[in-house]
Point group: C2
Chain length 209, copies 2
DNA sequence: CTCAAGTAGTGATTTTTTTCCCGATTAAAG
DNA sequence: CTTTAATCGGGAAAAAAATCACTACTTGAG
């Protein structure tokens, strides 16, 4: 049901945050309804912003009561596609790869890392969170056999674009890049560059100001 | 000289990207000038956007030639504070902490991680990239003695806010949080939450669309 | 020396995003 | 049943961001 129109990235970020807040509320404090004002206070936004965002994804509240937290969570999850299931391959079994794969929340978003690949023969064969690190030359087989849609890049900067290109050639649908470079991709592939230097710049800027 | 007015976050992100592009150009291809069109093509933006951004930080180009890449880089670095020096403490010597500390580019942004702290006695005393992991109870001493301005949080979700509060109490200036939670801080502390779930949501959304 | 073409600079315009505001609705109290 | 207070919904206004369109400048060619 999550079609209608493309959600803007900023909206998407806010929704994720609302969702977190709601889940905390619902799970931790057993509150069933929340007002836009409460959400706004948490997310440090305007109340109207929250109401508009929720309206945009079709959540309805009731006057004098607020929104049902469970509604908000389930609608966000539905619209954002968290309840579907996606397979991913992680390329690059270094420290960063290890850290990312141990992130305790992929499944909650529908993401399943089904394979790990690394070009270093010293790493292949070892186990990382229940998966055997595969050699690079099996990437194609793996992606095709498992019908993998997402590639997670935790390779060094120098091999990031090359690896991306290879995955694109294997008709991967999306890339999540952690190498310090902006990967370029064709229009039909979605890429998210998780670039530490943006954060670094943000901090340096604020510390210097 | 980096005062005048607060740069918007979106502008900041674009500037970081310009800077990367320029550095690649200058270093790799020995090109000394670039046109706004080239930068725009790389960053997938409008040419005017690039010109406005560069004008905003005071970079001047010359008609028929473009901008001097070296100018752009040095002005961005100056305005964003990369040439100053900041001390940071990393709290949480787990996998993620290890991955982050080994990121090969902190120094380029003026950031120096001068201490690592962890609450787990099994980790204290061990070495991570040249630093001895210190026990948690020495955090205060370390922050004060070294005059640390930035705290990098790579602790588990459950201890993130507590650790943040402690650092805030030690009058830290900024926090870089990698735990999957939005840290809340007083107005005078700058926080950047590096929240993997935003990326995850972005990907799930695009894969489902 | 003049002309042509490429490029920066910038004011105007459009689009998008955010905020403001108020009427409508609901639940609870009297 | 009526009143009151809290809250949503959505239109309007304001602010911010992006894009457009044009001018002016600079270089290199003829």
């Amino acid at each position: 049901m999550n079609e209608s129109k493309r959600l803007k990235r900023s909206l998407l970020e806010r929704l994720v945050r609302y969702c977190h807040f709601m889940q905390d509320k619902v799970l931790d404090e057993e509150i069933t309804t929340v007002s836009s004002a409460q959400v706004a206070a948490y997310a440090e936004l305007d109340e109207s912003q929250v109401r508009k965002d929720l309206a945009a994804i079709g959540v309805r509240g009731t006057p004098r009561v607020g929104y049902r937290a469970a509604d908000v969570v389930s609608t966000i999850r539905d619209r954002l596609g968290f309840d579907e299931s996606y397979k991913a391959v992680l390329v690059g079994a270094g420290r960063l790869g290890g850290a990312i794969i141990s992130y305790p929340g992929f499944a909650k978003y529908g993401l399943h890392i089904v394979a790990i690949v690394d070009s270093d023969p010293r790493k292949t064969g070892s186990m990382i969170s229940g998966l055997v690190v595969q050699p690079m030359h099996r990437l194609g087989q793996i992606v095709r056999r498992e019908q993998i849609e997402l590639g997670i890049l935790t390779v060094p900067r120098a091999s990031a674009q090359v690896t991306a290109d290879r995955l694109i050639d294997l008709e991967i649908k999306a890339l999540w890049n952690f190498a310090p470079i902006w990967i370029s991709v064709p229009d039909d592939v979605h890429v998210r560059n998780e670039h530490l230097s943006v954060g670094l710049a943000d901090l340096a800027y604020h510390l210097s100001g």
